[in-house]
Symmetry: D2
Subunit: 311 residues, 4 copies
């Protein structure tokens, strides 16, 4: 696919036609700092195999990656530890449980999170990162995010990080459960600190589009040319995005959009068109599953209009 038929004026038009949907959703409130997000924001960017970037809407707005960062830490863990090691402590199963469910952890033996894209799984991934101290572990995740996005200045939003750290009691419950059954060994607050920091990494839709374009292009960042990840890691990450990327909304997203994707409660979504391009959207008003309501609609329209779906 060339970008000749995928022009910014088309994107702008799509954004304008979709923006009204935000009124049907709600900005996440469980992290107080996120509750300040502007629900009317809508932005999109796409990066193709040649590294061409197009964007539209509120393209300069910065927001936090939140759960999209799970894709980053998973990629890092797979590269550093290998598939076998990673999947001894976390499953590959899709799930219709909410992203922060404790229940299944307890019900299933061994007590292993179902997949690395739910909170419990991402916490386990962070607990496995092979670095000398938590600062180094976080920096490794941030560095991976920077290289995937081709943005060496990406950094945390301190206010969101601190807000989440203060209020992240469900994540503490998950992590202490995992500790109590021996699935994680390290200090819980230390692990959660890495997790809360990576969730607060601040991006634009262009960052997201480049990040997921790199995953789409089997690990080669199409804007910087850097080989960030091996193809085998990208295949695993894309497959898990396709089956587990939007929590209990994953099935409906596959039907509507037909692309591997990952959402965050900050309103961002990344979607991969393998071999072709990466797309990032942002719309902070969320649906009941915690996914950007206008963001999904925008991706559905893009996917439909340009025949992007792979499913």
């Amino acid at each position: 696919m060339s970008f000749m038929t995928f022009q910014e004026t088309d994107l702008e038009e799509l954004v304008n036609a979709t923006r009204f949907l935000a009124a049907k959703g709600k900005v996440a409130t469980y992290i107080p700092e996120l509750a300040r997000g502007n629900p009317e924001i809508l932005a999109v960017a796409a990066v193709d195999a040649a590294g061409t970037l197009v964007s539209a809407g509120d393209r300069d707005v910065r927001f936090t990656m939140q759960s999209i960062s799970k894709v980053v830490s998973l990629s890092l863990a797979l590269m550093e530890l290998g598939e076998e090691e990673v999947f001894r402590k976390v499953g590959m199963d899709p799930t219709a449980d909410p992203f922060n469910s404790v229940m299944r952890l307890e019900m299933i033996r061994p007590h292993v999170p179902q997949n690395p894209l739910i909170n419990a799984g991402a916490i386990v991934i962070d607990s496995m990162l092979p670095y000398a101290d938590p600062e180094k572990a976080f920096c490794a995740v941030r560095d991976m995010a920077r290289r995937l996005a081709g943005n060496p200045r990406m950094r945390e939003n301190q206010a969101v990080y601190l807000s989440e750290k203060r209020t992240g009691d469900r994540n503490r419950s998950l992590a202490y459960f995992l500790k109590s059954v021996g699935t994680i060994k390290a200090d819980v607050e230390t692990i959660l600190d890495i997790y809360f920091r990576q969730c607060s990494l601040e991006v634009t839709v262009s960052d997201l589009a480049t990040l997921v374009a790199t995953l789409s292009m089997d690990g080669r960042n199409p804007r910087t040319g850097e080989e960030v990840l091996p193809p085998s890691v990208c295949r695993i990450v894309r497959a898990l995005m396709a089956t587990c990327g939007l929590y209990d909304g994953s099935g409906a997203f596959a039907v509507r959009v037909g692309l591997p994707a990952k959402s965050g409660v900050g309103g961002g979504i990344v979607a991969a068109v393998p071999g072709v391009m990466g797309i990032g959207v942002c719309g902070p008003a969320l649906d009941q599953q915690g996914n950007s309501i206008a963001g999904i609609a925008l991706l559905e329209r893009l996917s439909g209009r340009y025949g992007l779906r792979v499913l």
Copy 2:
């Protein structure tokens, strides 16, 4: 993709190299008649957009579709009733519960099966089919299967049907639960009869390959040329296959093979390469999730060698 690089000699070689894996699995025993299956069988067939058929291994062996028939009845229901009507009584959520779990049905309100590709969902789909009597409903499913597979002589295996009818107590438990909460209205044994009959439809890997090629080609059977289904139905079915097609093995299958697929305990699997081809395999020895152990391995090798994966 043309089939010039996808020749029967290659397929034969792959089948021979993979067959030994069957020893690690077990033939399904919960349906007595299935327990007679030969665990060493392995067969594959593929049909491309032009309708060319290639096959290898035990290509003439006949086996029952079992859960692969859920794809057929879902397609029929979507065509006859429309997406909105169908998804009022069944969800689109992937699940890591076994295919015959009652638990989640009870836990979640409304008591709606998570998706149409688990047993409870398929039973609900059968209960919705808009036909005057169960005989007509079954014939409509069979006819849809025949047209998708381009095989007007496809018929039930009476012994398997009767065996399943005699022993299908877990399915009865599911169906009576659904009846008790009002999700299905019709007589339970009548609905189950349709379900058991469609599961016993007998096919070869060539039938499966054609059937799923039709879904891959947006509804046009590439061997008969018939427009069997509208593209919108095929997109829904393929998306659900990608997220829910192999029960709690769906995530691992997406990682290993990267294609929408659906398995049956008879040992069959159908895999769609959208726009390109359909692949059918059969190997009755199953893994712990109830999926063909050698069949998955064969699809993984095919997908890897020929770059078929879409995820």
Copy 3:
């Protein structure tokens, strides 16, 4: 305790003071024939160690035992098979799940009902009864009920039995689940037929009071003088009544009334004062847990006024 301070005029007064509570409950509707019950009925009877019977309120009203019959079939099974045999297929655990929950059956291995006083447990008990055919099994249960109650004319209510048989789909779901995991071996409809018939046994509060007085007196019917059960069986039955007799209302009942008891959706409750007396009440208007709302209140007042509680 003598009955000198426990006179019918007192009982009448209590009944009259409590009757208004029925307005806060609802007659069971899931069995259509039960829905015809008069919600304003309230009756009580007590039988002491000497066999003296006192009663008050709508004492002549006949109603069906429903789940109170589980006490009868459990007693029979314990006497015929022994404690060890019975508790290999059913647990002794209290539960806060509703009486007809499938979920826990599936979650816990081995798939054994938690106790014999929930529906799944009572169905398993019926499946164990060592009789040549279902007619004989039912007659043995009915005969046990007659001897416990000292009423040789007790019989089924055909309309309720047939109504329950027609609509008992949740019980079918439970029974087929138990069959599918091998916990019950016999034909499901045959077992359920015994179960539905015993539930429909028709009684008055005097029957109930005598029945539970026999359990209170360690198996000796204080009105007929017959030794119906050994003391060891009565101890087991009373203990299970105390912990599991009112489903998820068992804890609150223990707090309010302090006596071993068993309720039925027909509105009846039996309460044992071990060594002292048996009490039967009936009030068809039920609370949210399916227990007689005015019946519990009446027992609470009786227990409080006369110092009957044992907990």
Copy 4:
């Protein structure tokens, strides 16, 4: 009952005849400090209505109350806040879930622990105690325990307290879950500190026997003569002990022993014979439900030999 037939020589004989059963159990290991307990210890004490104390076996051994302290904090909360206030945040339902299950908390709405005698419930109780600071709250619990047991020198075992504080991750998981859903408002570690401290209160079997004799005698300590609790509080506590006191072993205990009781993983059990006496036992070797294996057997024999059961 007088103690004329309940002499220390009889108790000694029972202890000696029962001690061998300890070999079938295991000392709790999840709290490292408890793992040092001597599994062969067995001791019993009883206090009657007149305040007479008899004891036998390892009567001088000191051990920690652990979950038996839940009875103390519940009594305190009921006295200070009243029944209505307490049961707005915690249920009265028996449960067959293990004492530290998170699952049910999540499944049921409102997210309220099922009863105050499981860990989650006891943590909620501690969070409700109306004191200015955690030190005062703990001292109030300790003071209640001292008055119930008539032992003004009762104090914490620092080593056990610190061991539990270090390793109590499952309790942290429960508490953070309760915080995340708003059931508890206060700081989690502060609440848990009270909880871990009360669990570490050190007692002998004589302390336990007096403590539960006070509950048996409707709140009047039969050794000190002090009116510690109102009768209404004692009735509630005894009823909950009968239905929920031994977790998923509550039903079997009711069958075998027939008395309201509460166990702790330190090996202690208290059993109430309402109006008659209180019994304390200690045997650190536990069965699979976490209850003293020889302790239960000793209570069963005592209850059987002296006709103590109330159920």
